[in-house]
Amino acid sequence: MIQNTFKKELKELSRDGRVRISFLLVILLMAVATWISKNQYSATNEQYKEAETAERHIWEGQGEKNPHSAAHYGTYAFKPKYPLSLIDHGVDKFTGTSIFLEAHKRNEAQFSKAADQTGLARFGDLTPDFVLLFILPLLIVFLGYNAFTKEREMGTLVLLKSQGTSVWKLILGKWLAIFAPVFISLFLLFVVAGIVLSNLKDFGIFSWESLGVLFLVYIGYYIIFINLVLFISSKVKKSGISLVLSLSAWILACLAVPKAASNIAESQYPYPTRQEFAASINKDQKNGIDGHDPWNKQAKLLENKVLKEHNVDSLEQLPFNFDAYRMQKGEEHTAEIYFKHYNHLKTQFEQQSSLYRNLAVLSPFLPARFMSMAIANTDYATHWDFADAAEIYRVELQAFLNGNFAENSTYGEWSYRADESTWKNMPAFEYDPPELSETLGRNTSNLVVLMVWILVSFSLLFFTTKKL
């Protein structure tokens, strides 16, 4: 019976002109979106490579210079793009792509793509993730809204009942008939994407494993929609009503809840404005962290301590340049202040994230969206990871420069110039995105929510539908 229903439904779907057209349209959209993304991806990566080499060249070719001048001149960390960003662009458009690394200051990533776009871009971009997250569920609605209502309207339900079929077999048959085409087309799509990605030159670190997990996430997401649509169809009398209800569920899940969640998250756990953030860091720099031990006081203590340690009574007698040494200690102190303030931002961010997770009860879109971005390394957490790595590099860079200054000059010798070859000795900034296992570990709660959605929707469909 399951098999027969499955075959009959598939045949019917394939004969329906509307279904054929919408399938065709989705595939066309997907192809266009992927093509656009691929071009963008290659262009961005080329620019990234060019900028990175040029920047390194600029850094190494500074010539003879005081290390502290070099520190102020600074260097840039550029954020690379990863292969799976081809499938999900995530928040990449809204986060900056380059961080200026200089002395005394931690800078935010600059130049987000969205800021360079018109208001039209806020309608959304034609990207694969748009098709996967918004359009495919809509296709499922169209495929399944009348699965049961049409039997009712045509009166065939009575016939089916007279055959003594158990309800669950009927449901499963219809379920499979919708699932199979979705599964197969998604599978083909991901295989093609995988082949394209692994054949791109300089594609970074592409792993089939991540692609596979991403595939599973999307399949899970679609299963939830299939379950919900069939559930609605089995409970409602008319096709029209079933369609409108399924569409409302789609709008709620994909459009309304995420937007409402964004408003709630923003007002519950607000970020400070850029200016406020800078001002509170300034305050800590002036008055010491939380008003304790301002730096000039600490510097005085440091002076006495160093003098005592080396058993000398003036800074000139020290075997190194105390100015540079103090600057390094000051740098460490500043880094600590930044660490504190960025940690505050991070707590806000984590609280916002947990709010999104809680609201996922209302929308399976949320966990799917977050999982997909995370696996594609285009989520906000990856951006944080990158910014933190850049900060660690910045601190190392300052230590390197101040160390050079301290060792090779004496107290008060500001005219000291480091050799031209000095700059090469500092290794270039490199960043590796989190591994898949780490990403999954961080997103366990999203995975759990997605699983719960799958289980609950399955039981809704199979256990509450005892008779049709």
Binding site: Q47, F78, T118, L120, G240, L243, T273, Y380
Partner: protein, 475 residues
């Protein structure tokens, strides 16, 4: 006939709960959205206010310090922050250049979640150091805001679709159409009439809700300021009613109608905008910001190498400063400001290209927005709210101009080696944001109405041409 139809329709709409549900839905969605919009505006206002207060306090300290310096007392502040040095005023006591929200800012979030609403330009640094983007969780920007513009552009059409998709088909499906066919009224006119009742109610609700919102949220403005929003919303609703009207006439069964209408919604509200956006950025691509950084770095490196020479050239170009140049009095800032000026001039065309491309994209959209009413409405609401791309572009320009004013005001002090005195405080320039004016709203509303009328006219002309007139009764 018309009268009976009308009364019957109204009664049945009330009895099956249609009007109640619609009213409730519209009220709930709009008020939630207005609440969100208002909250954003409040935050923006209080942030700006806090910035002003902070500057006021720091000004008081500055004046105190200046006073002590002028009386010849010793002060404890770090040498380079003492405000008798003009560059200390320029860098440590910048003014707030704020973009105050307009009356209708709560209507559309627009680009306001991307950009900051106040900056404090300093004398040092270049224009690129002015960061106009805001730190936020980008997830919020990705999801967008549940603001009135979202309800109007995306949800209102869906609500209209949900309540109009089966106006004709339900009569057909329940068999009452045969009875109606015996009446002296054309099918098109009869569908139009049923639509008109629904339209009337939706318009009434929109007017009621927006009037209420006006009295709750806007204070100190005339009622006239909300009328454009009401007009745009009604024009947009008309468009969707018109579409629903022809789809009802032309398509067929309830579910086919619903699918056709949703398809149109998808087309107008999601696909056309993203396609146009894609085409805009392909036709007028933004230059690479990463490569721009390289250019910036090279220009700066060159300037740093030649700072002394640059200062000499600068003084040659500005003999008014050179007169007072005692040569020995050249400080770091003399050289720095001169070389910064050069870097700025050199980078001007590079920076300008970004703004130009953005303007070209914007122009392209203005020409093609007529393809989709959703785009028309979005652009118009953003403009009314003062949160459109153009508004932020204009703000950026005003700030950069102000930064120049600020520098030019303090430069004479620096190069004339003249200390900044407390008497000079009142002459410091202040920033005043001049919002853009737009007068396109009336035209936009008219266009929307014309489009809607055109569609309805098409419906009448074609009649139920796409369904066979026999089939509509026998099937």
């Amino acid at each position: 006939m018309y009268k009976f139809n009308f009364i019957y329709e109204l009664k049945s709409l009330v009895r099956n709960g249609w009007i109640q549900l619609l009213t409730l839905l519209l009220f709930a969605l709009f008020f939630f959205a207005f609440y969100n919009g208002q909250e954003k505006v409040e935050k923006r206002k209080s942030d700006i206010q806090a910035a002003h207060t902070e500057v006021k306090e720091s000004d008081r300290d500055m004046l105190k310090l200046l006073d002590s310096v002028e009386r010849g007392m010793t002060v404890t502040a770090s040498r380079w922050t003492i405000p008798s040095k003009p560059m200390a005023v320029g860098n440590y006591h910048p003014r707030v250049a704020a973009m105050d929200p307009g009356n209708l800012a709560f209507v559309a979030t627009g680009q306001s979640d991307l950009f900051t609403h106040y900056v404090k330009p300093k004398t040092s640094g270049d224009d690129l150091a002015l960061n106009f983007t805001e730190i936020t969780n980008p997830v919020q920007q990705l999801f967008g805001s549940f603001d009135p513009a979202f309800v109007i552009i995306f949800l209102l059409p869906l609500i209209i679709i949900a309540f109009t998709y089966n106006v004709l088909s339900s009569e057909k499906e329940s068999g009452t159409l045969r009875l109606l066919a015996s009446q002296p009224i054309s099918v098109a006119a009869w569908v139009l009439q049923k639509m008109a009742i629904r339209l009337f109610w939706v318009i009434l609700m929109i007017v009621v809700i927006l009037t209420m919102v006006f009295y709750i949220h806007i204070d100190g403005a005339s009622f006239g300021s909300i009328i454009p929003v009401i007009g745009i919303t009604i024009g947009y609703a008309l468009f969707w009613f018109a579409l629903a009207f022809v789809v009802n006439l032309w398509v067929g069964s309830s579910s086919k109608n619903a699918i056709a209408l949703i398809g149109l919604w998808l087309l107008f509200a999601l696909l056309v905008p993203s396609l146009l956006n894609q085409m805009g950025s392909t036709l007028y691509p933004m230059p690479s910001r990463t490569l721009m950084i390289n250019q910036l770095r090279t220009a700066k490196a060159e300037a740093t190498k030649k700072q002394d020479q640059i200062l000499d050239n600068f003084l040659r170009d500005h003999p008014e400063y050179a007169i007072n140049d005692p040569n020995q009095g050249r400080s770091f800032y003399h050289r720095y400001m001169a070389s910064q000026q050069l870097v700025r001039e050199e980078l001007q065309p590079v920076v300008q290209r970004f703004e130009e491309q953005l303007q070209k994209q914007q122009q392209w959209i203005s020409q093609l927005k007529w393809v989709s009413p959703a785009i028309i409405v979005q652009q118009e609401l953003n403009t009314l709210a003062g949160t459109s791309t153009r508004d932020y572009e204009s703000y950026r320009k005003q700030v950069i101009d102000f930064a120049e004013t600020w520098r030019q005001h303090l430069m004479p002090f620096l190069y004339n080696n003249q200390p900044f005195a407390s008497a000079d405080y009142k002459n410091l320039p202040a920033f005043e944001y001049a919002p853009l004016n737009s007068n396109t709203t009336a035209k936009t509303i008219l266009v929307l109405i014309v489009i809607a009328m055109g569609i309805v006219g098409l419906g009448f002309a074609k009649g139920i041409g796409f369904q066979s007139s026999k089939g509509i009764l026998t099937h």
